[in-house]
Symmetry: C2
Amino acid sequence: MSRIREINSERILESSCIEFAEKGYSATKIIDIAKKAGLPKPNIYYYFQSKENLYRCVLESIIEPLLEASAPFDQYEDPAIALGEYIRTKIRISKEHPHASKVFASEIMHGAPHLTKDISDKLMSQTKHMTTRIDQWVSDGKMEPIDAQHLLFTIWASTQTYADFDWQIGQVTGKKTLDNHDYQTATELITRLVLKGCGLNLVEIK
Amino acid sequence: MSRIREINSERILESSCIEFAEKGYSATKIIDIAKKAGLPKPNIYYYFQSKENLYRCVLESIIEPLLEASAPFDQYEDPAIALGEYIRTKIRISKEHPHASKVFASEIMHGAPHLTKDISDKLMSQTKHMTTRIDQWVSDGKMEPIDAQHLLFTIWASTQTYADFDWQIGQVTGKKTLDNHDYQTATELITRLVLKGCGLNLVEIK
DNA sequence: GTCTATAAGGTGATAGAC
DNA sequence: GTCTATCACCTTATAGAC
């Protein structure tokens, strides 16, 4: 791939990610993506063939981070550390990929019409793996009995909300964008609720 | 208002609520709303003037339940009961108004472009009221110190997720729709996390 | 590889008959 | 009050010059 092709593709992906996140798939106009990327409209089609294909590329860009996020479940034997690290990672994804997170959330909210079965399967299998691990910790007496699926729903929701509903969060906090300290506060609060809720002691990880 | 007008308006509101929730504002076609309501397209305009006006009516239908949800903060002096009842009410809204909840969530996610300042102000003032109440409980020593704003973010996210991300929840649980028992499980889990996270004891309410 | 000009298709909205 | 037929506009997508 030529240098210029690489640069332009990257610019288009970034611009479209922001547009799709802010407006949603249908309300996003190719011309706006082109303007934001500083390129003429036909070039968008030259590089990505169609609006839907471009959208899918944006959507899939968040999948890898999401799949990697569950690594702590395998790395640590202690549920307090594993859950804490998982929450920390999920908050980091909301912070570092706010637009792609929002595109993913919007996709899910509307019934995942563009998500391929391949990706959907990978996410499901990851979820299954995490719930199995939690159930194991429970039967090993390492944490209090809890519904693993619903625990994950709460962790997902409370961490993703910092990307998905940033407008609301900005309104309430009075800040246009959250700083590192805010994300730290969020991470600590969610971790505290989850760990204490599972009968686990808070663990210090720098 | 004539009887037929009342019936038709109601049918249109219900149909459009579902359509807007499933597709989002831009992807929703008036013709589909008309078909779902069993009426010809021009009648939608006859009753609601424009697509945007119809959307706003749907959007505002969820505001009243949301504003009423915070009543427990005023009704109860005990934070454990107030928070527990608030969570129970928020889950009930997700269960009883799943489509309107989703429309509201989608609106917020895209920066609330259609929300009037009037409504936005009411929601903000309600939020301010709730955080003040929590801060008071903390300084009264009734609960452990906690960031009230972020606590609300987690409660909102974890309760709304049952409406907003119902597709994902259906995938994971393997159920098309959740039954009363599932909502019960969700309510208890979220309540347990929040109360124990705030150093409060679980309270039994009938 | 890049971009102007245009084709093709679809949607919100309404005029006007009933 | 209701509905058929149509307008006006906008957006995706591409042909073809450079």
